[in-house]
């Protein structure tokens, strides 16, 4: 995969391309293909053209940064002032936030050009983007397959190059899994390094904004532009100011291979591709170490208990009183709230709210919520321990290659299995890069994760980039999609 940001940025600086021309070319690709891709749910092309003109001024003044004038797509749960932000939920229909998320503000200040908001599972709850009230985006590599979720629209937009890069959010794997499905790079940074201010909360103690991009380098450029302590988010932390990427000495790196990530629930083709990737590191001189995370099998259940608990509280504010949808009703205010929430939320969101309400209820809290928090603390400690003996962990990003659309007919418990590989890093708040590491017999991408200890984001990215450069994997867009572009 080739990076786009550096190339486009150079063309802009050398005046071989104007910011307006670049934006127009993306707008025309997006307007032709989006009906098929369903990646964008709110387009803001008029604003994009104005932003491109402003970006050109910055370039002319010599005040450009690598992201100035580069078109970007932002997930529909990240607040963008003046542009709808609906979390792909009926309940937030028409909601235009009065303020911008800090991550988006930082990009905007760099002169980034917002093309639109991308499709996602409703309130980021899902792994196929099919719970979106706008219908699912498709996988640009094969139109019958899922783009993954919940940041499916963000991944599809980057894969089809109708956005140079995008922002997504990762709670239990929502950046990494769609990146893996669409054959691009997705990065979930250390919890707290990117401000959550303005990211519509699903499960606050897991939610992290992360970049989706066509290369590790691009992801690192975006990450470096949006990270930093934010006084509007008490859980945000500061990170070193130096650029994240560096040239790692692979011979001095110990790559941990956690065996549970290669267990029965993971498809054979996925295991084979990831194991081949590990061999590449081995051949380069890295030390390969088998490690074990016995709590792996408990992680998924604990994750769903805690994330649903937090979601049940976070989504309480959508009551029809102040903003968003309000159901018609003859009864009192309590009746109005109940009707609004019943009509406004989709089935999966209602399921998770009820699950979360249950696990926090008197008499059950100790049995579920508190025990799950215990598992989380133990899992974090176990991972910390593992990182005392190795620099990075390499594992599959998802248990399967992209699955077919229409999977919402599976049971919830089956669907939740899609997160087994990504949830451990979410539980521990550690950085994890998802990047393509190979393909299935049918040519569909297989993604792997490079995880590192807390605040070793640069190490995870750098080790991932090493593989990316050596392996040089790329995918062809589906013919149907190519025709539209």
């Amino acid at each position: 995969m080739k990076g786009r940001i550096a190339t486009l940025s150079r063309l802009l600086r050398e005046r071989k391309l104007s910011a307006v021309e670049l934006t127009e070319s993306y707008i025309s690709r997006a307007s032709r293909s989006n009906r098929l891709l369903n990646a964008y749910v709110h387009e803001c092309f008029a604003q994009a053209r104005l932003a491109a003109e402003r970006a050109q001024k910055l370039i002319d003044q010599g005040a450009a940064s690598p992201l100035t004038g580069i078109p970007v797509a932002v997930k529909d749960n990240i607040c963008t002032r003046g542009v709808p932000t609906t979390c792909c939920s009926r309940i937030l229909q028409g909601y235009v936030p009065p303020y911008s998320a800090e991550a988006w503000s930082k990009l905007e200040r760099c002169g980034a050009v917002l093309l639109g908001k991308t499709n996602m599972d409703e309130f980021a709850m899902g792994s196929s983007s099919e719970t979106s009230c706008f219908g699912a985006p498709i996988n640009p590599l094969n139109t019958s397959l899922s783009a993954g979720g919940s940041s499916g629209g963000s991944a599809a937009a980057v894969a089809a190059d109708i956005a140079a890069y995008s922002l997504g959010s990762d709670t239990g794997g929502s950046v990494r899994q769609p990146a893996a499905f669409c054959g691009i790079v997705g990065f979930r940074p250390t919890y707290g390094t990117i401000s959550r201010s303005g990211l519509v909360a699903y499960a606050s103690s897991f939610d992290q904004i992360g970049p989706l991009a066509s290369s590790v380098e691009d992801a690192a450029i975006v990450y470096d532009a949006i990270r930093g302590r934010d006084c509007a988010d008490m859980t945000s932390v500061s990170s070193a100011s130096a650029p994240s990427l560096f040239e790692p000495d692979i011979k001095s790196i110990t790559v941990g291979v956690p065996k549970e990530f290669f267990s029965d629930g993971v498809e054979e083709e996925v295991k084979v591709a990831v194991e081949a990737a590990i061999c590449l590191y081995e051949r380069a001189g890295a030390r390969i170490k088998q490690v074990s995370l016995p709590l792996f099998s408990k992680a998924l259940a604990a994750y769903y208990i805690i994330s649903c608990a937090e979601a049940s509280s976070n989504l309480g504010r959508y009551d029809g009183v102040r903003y968003g949808m309000r159901a018609d009703c003859d009864g009192g205010v309590a009746d109005m709230m109940a009707k609004t929430r019943t009509k406004g939320f989709g089935k999966e969101v209602r399921r998770r709210i009820m699950l979360g309400t249950f696990v926090l209820s008197g008499g059950y809290k100790g049995q579920y919520y508190k025990r799950a928090c215990g598992v989380r603390a133990m899992l974090s400690a176990a991972l910390e321990d593992i990182f005392n003996g190795c620099d990075v962990l390499v594992a599959p990003a998802a248990p399967t290659a992209p699955f077919a659309l229409g999977t919402e007919r599976r049971s919830a418990a089956e669907a939740y299995q899609a997160d087994i590989c990504t949830v451990p890093a979410s539980m521990a708040g550690i950085p994890a890069v998802s990047l393509p590491c190979g393909m299935t017999k049918s040519g569909m991408p297989v993604g792997m994760q490079v995880m590192a200890g807390r605040h070793n984001d640069g190490l995870a990215l750098s080790v991932a980039r090493y593989f990316e450069r050596e392996a040089d994997i790329s995918f062809r867009l589906s013919a149907e999609v190519s025709r539209e572009l």
Binding site: R196, S197, R317
Partner: protein, 464 residues
């Protein structure tokens, strides 16, 4: 009777507890709110450090231990005045624990915990419509929870007044129950001496200390009647109706809400190092008990001293007067007498907005103590200054400042005797006390400038 009180106190911060909005009582509806306090999607709380500081201050004043690590929690329930559908409060690891208030009798009322939380908005009902004012959302509160150590309405009054006095002096809150900056919920149960505790009910909507007393009396009798009739008290929440003096059921136990508390993921645990607590302790203003002792040691009478110590601003004014050289006893008496009389309501006394400067007040006290003006005259002058807002110089000419000359006073005394021959006759017949009958006239006619001791001598001379 066994009773515990939960007291909500609004902290005197300039801004709200989780955002930068101003805290302003009586502002136009929905003018003091933002993305955070109206619960916009994606908005996050940022803790106001000053609210934590005032909470710690309250804990220190009430003899609590301050937890070195404190944690916020979400209390979840749906109500239109609660924008996020949860209140950020505390459950495990409250800010302060294990304090007490000592009553005059020496009995200690234990304070189980003090925690920080945010206030909700307000519903405004007009005709058939209901409006929501979010200005109060996010106003910082502390909740002070007492143990069920209170055994009478009188003790409850003393406990609440002690809280008010201490928190006002520490600058934690103005504790005005009428305005809602202090709210008390009273838990009350009744049982025979030595028997296990009875079922408790909770009283809400108590807007004054007297309402607390009356409601408790009423509820005590109601529970006694039920029990003596062989009935059972139902656990419930009751609303006190000030007009009828009765308690009305709000909700029964079955309707008890499950608040589904869990740690607030948006706010990491707050670590409070002992050094910070020590620093706050140093900044602690002198509390009423300490000031009371100081004032009496300066010669202020016990009654005047305790009246002064009810209001922080009165104390501060008194102490300023002392700095300008006023004698303590006279200054105290003039303040709790004449100045208090000019401040009609409790709120007026709390605000203590008076038109007399400490310097002028000190001068008046000096005139009195130096014999240049007698106390009656001083009260009249002070009263006029308070009422008309005129400075001392415009009120009292140089000549007026001196006491009435001996000759004029003698003239006045003659006149007094002439107008009251009966008293004169009584005195001459041996009723020494009859001399008192002349003083009123002399005081009045001299405009307070007569020296009463000298007048007594003159009268005795004239009546020989």
């Amino acid at each position: 009777m066994m009773s515990g009180i939960e007291t909500h106190v609004e902290l005197s911060t300039a801004s709200k507890i989780f955002c930068g909005c101003r805290v302003k009582f009586g502002a136009k509806p929905n003018t003091q709110c933002c993305d955070v306090c109206t619960g916009q999607p994606g908005a996050l709380p940022v803790l106001n450090k000053n609210a934590v500081r005032l909470g710690i201050l309250a804990g220190l004043c009430l003899n609590c231990t301050i937890n070195g690590r404190t944690r916020f929690a979400r209390k979840n329930y749906f109500y239109p005045d609660l924008p996020k559908a949860y209140q950020i409060s505390q459950q495990e690891l409250p800010l302060c624990e294990n304090g007490y208030v000592e009553l005059e009798s020496g009995k200690k009322i234990c304070i189980t915990r003090i925690h920080l939380e945010e206030d909700a908005g307000k519903l405004v009902h007009e005709g058939d419509s209901t409006f929501i004012d979010y200005n109060r959302c996010g106003v910082p509160l502390i909740e002070i929870v007492s143990a069920p150590d209170i055994s009478s309405p009188k003790e409850a009054r003393e406990y609440i007044e002690a809280l008010q006095s201490v928190l006002r002096f520490a600058g934690v809150s103005d504790c005005r129950m009428q305005q809602g900056s202090m709210r008390c919920d009273v838990n009350i149960s009744v049982a025979e001496e030595g028997a296990p505790a009875g079922t408790r009910t909770e009283l809400k909507n108590l807007n004054s200390v007297s309402a607390v007393e009356r409601a408790m009396e009423h509820e005590f009798l109601r529970q006694c009647n039920i029990l003596s009739g062989g009935g059972r008290v139902e656990q419930s929440t009751l609303r006190y109706d000030e007009k009828s003096g009765a308690t009305l059921a709000m909700r029964a136990k079955e309707d008890a809400r499950d608040y589904r508390y869990f740690p607030e993921p948006d706010i990491p645990d707050i670590v409070i190092p002992p050094s910070e607590v020590a620093l706050i302790k140093k900044s602690l203003p002198r509390l009423p008990a300490q000031r009371l002792a100081e004032y009496t040691s300066l010669g202020v009478g016990g009654n005047a001293a305790s009246l002064l110590c009810r209001y922080r601003r009165a104390c501060d004014f008194f102490e300023s007067c002392l700095k300008f050289g006023a004698g303590a006893k006279t200054a105290a008496n003039l303040i709790v007498g004449t100045v208090y009389a000019s401040l009609l309501t409790e709120d007026d006394k709390l605000d203590f907005r008076i038109a007399v400067s400490a310097r002028d007040m000190a001068d008046i006290v000096k005139y009195v103590d130096g014999g240049k003006m007698n106390i009656t005259r001083a009260q009249l002058v002070l009263g006029r200054m308070l009422k008309e807002g005129v400075p001392l110089n415009d009120c009292v000419g140089e000549d007026e400042l001196s006491a009435m000359s001996a000759d004029s006073l003698k003239e006045l005394c003659r006149e007094a005797i002439r107008l009251n021959p009966a008293a004169a006759a009584d005195y001459r017949s041996g009723k020494v006390k009859a001399i008192g009958g002349f003083y009123g006239y002399i005081k009045r006619e001299s405009g307070g400038r007569a020296d009463i001791k000298l007048a007594e001598q003159i009268l005795k001379e004239l009546l020989k």
